[in-house]
């Protein structure tokens, strides 16, 4: 395995909140272009893992390599500039702005100059601003929000807000895309649509997905990581995970479709 082909290389990563060990010595290697699903009961440490990767809080121990580069101590913004995009488990959109403005802002962080003092209006005559708005339109269409651009985020349905989250993550043109329960609260139709969007992602995007829904996990992932109590207890193909006695035991024989 060549070092340079690793999108993510996590070694001995741990995180304690006071006395609570939310993450205990995690190791995970992800190849470029892989599709990984992460499952586990509530409180297993999945979101904590995302937050550590994104740099929301510092790791207690361990090392994070992104595309062969040590980013363990880099700021969140710098990691984003290296190609890491993530969505949040609880929606944290800009509520007082429209859907289109949300994506417009998302485009400004990495690629364009977000500090520009030009008017950011769709009617603006500036070529850079115009170009950015047309990209906003395309991103919204990609997540089926093409006709919702001028709607205030607060007036979007839950499902639409999650789709908007995805559009904002895609705006970064990420190399590694991390989605935290993107289908939570989705209707079956919305789920089917999400699977379609995820499958249509360009092959070079590496995907790390926290997902409740085993069908979505199966349909999109080539590898599943099972978390429990801050530890990785299993890693394998979706079929291996489905048939694992250890996993069944942890979920008390409940149907794996309920596994969060």
């Amino acid at each position: 395995m060549r070092q340079s082909s690793l999108a993510l290389n996590v070694t001995g990563l741990s995180k304690s909140f006071g006395g609570l060990h939310a993450m205990k010595s995690m190791d995970l290697q992800i190849q470029d272009g892989e599709r990984i699903s992460m499952i586990g009961t509530n409180g297993a440490g999945k979101s904590t893992f995302f937050n550590l990767l994104a740099g929301v809080f510092p790791a207690t121990t361990g090392r994070i390599e992104l595309f062969g580069e040590d980013v363990t101590t880099l700021s969140t913004a710098k990691r984003a500039k290296k190609g890491l995009a993530r969505t949040f488990q609880t929606s944290s959109l800009f509520e007082q702005l429209t859907a289109a403005e949300n994506v417009f802002i998302a485009l400004g962080g990495v690629e364009f100059n977000g500090a520009s003092l030009r008017l950011a209006l769709p009617s603006s005559k500036n070529i850079l601003v115009e170009n950015r708005w047309s990209r906003v339109e395309r991103l919204l269409e990609r997540v089926a929000l093409g006709d919702q651009g001028s709607t205030m985020v607060a007036n979007l349905s839950h499902g639409e807000q999650r789709q908007l989250e995805l559009a904002m993550a895609l705006a970064l043109q990420p190399k590694l895309l991390m989605l935290d329960e993107p289908a939570a609260g989705f209707s079956p139709a919305e789920r089917a649509h999400l699977v379609k969007i995820l499958r249509e992602l360009p092959q070079e995007i590496t995907l790390l997905l926290i997902e409740h829904d085993m069908d979505i996990a199966l349909a999109t992932a080539n590898r599943v990581v099972v978390m429990h109590d801050g530890e990785k207890i299993l890693e394998g193909s979706p079929q291996e995970v489905r048939s694992s006695a250890r996993v069944r035991e942890i979920y008390l024989g409940g149907s794996l479709d309920d596994v969060a």
Partner: protein, 364 residues
Amino acid sequence: MSTDQTTSMRRKPRLGAVLWLAFLIFAFAFPYLVDRPKFWIPNIGIKSIWLGVVAMSLVFLNRYVGLLSLAQMTIAGISAYGAGFVIVKMDGPIMMAIPIGLLVGTLAGFLIALVAVRTKAIYFLMITLAIGQVVYSFASQSIEVTNARRGLAPIKREDVGFMHFTELHIFYYVALIVAIGCYVLCRYIAATSFGLALQGIKDSPERMSALGYNVNRYRIAAMTFSSFIASVGGIIMVFDRAQVDPDVVALPATLDILIVAVVGGIGSLSGVFFGALVLTLLDNFSQNLTERYMTLTGLVFIAVLLFAPAGLAGIGKQLSALFARLKGPTIQDAAEADPPQTSPAATAEDAQETQDELSKGSQR
């Protein structure tokens, strides 16, 4: 809510807009409406203008960046001291004093931002307050720079070219136009890509960093801009008062700005001028009614918080909502009670409106 509903909501002539136009006309006619211009213009008119401008810088930070800074009066005071120093200690012309004052105030704001930016919420408030106290104790002790308690005086207005600043009317109109310029500038900044990013930071700083934004750098830039606005207020103040002493950076002055911002409506950039007018009127006339000026101001403050939490600027909206309810409640009316105001489309539209109103006003 559908898109066309949002636009139709915006198109409706609002009672608020009418009130603003009336207030603007009143502001331009003000020097000719009062019986004793020598008292009213400086003590009520121009004082309301600079109080409003300084409070506007506070509201800008609060509304678009989500920071509550108590250092805005301190920054205004530093710019006033800067201009006063050039005039009193260096015997410089006011055309040199003004830019130096603005520069010193803005720079001070930038340095305060560097110190305060890493703190959040109540800590940010406390640190800006503490910095204000440091500046106050320096101002009241340094003989060489600030003349300690005596302050820098006299700071006289001079005629510059065809601008007869010594003329009270001229000074008033220049101050008024500068204040409106500050307002338009704030609205403009809020509608740029930079302003949108600031509003994103207000709503969700975590997400902004995840999108690759250096949140602290944006906060520092916004605080520096708002310091410039506060400095403009400080310059108007120093020529209104004809002197600068430690009182301008003392705690009561800081609290005045907070009161003006809250009474005017903490989310409204233009409401501050209502708040400022209320405060100057109370300040000058409550002595006739009661010895307890502070008590009366405090009571007005509490009444506003209780009955008009969106401040005086929100009263127009509250009234429209009330009328609508009397006519029979509909879902749309409920939505109109608090229309989201931060959309840049609305922002630019309103800025345009203001410019229109402005040109109308100056033709009168």
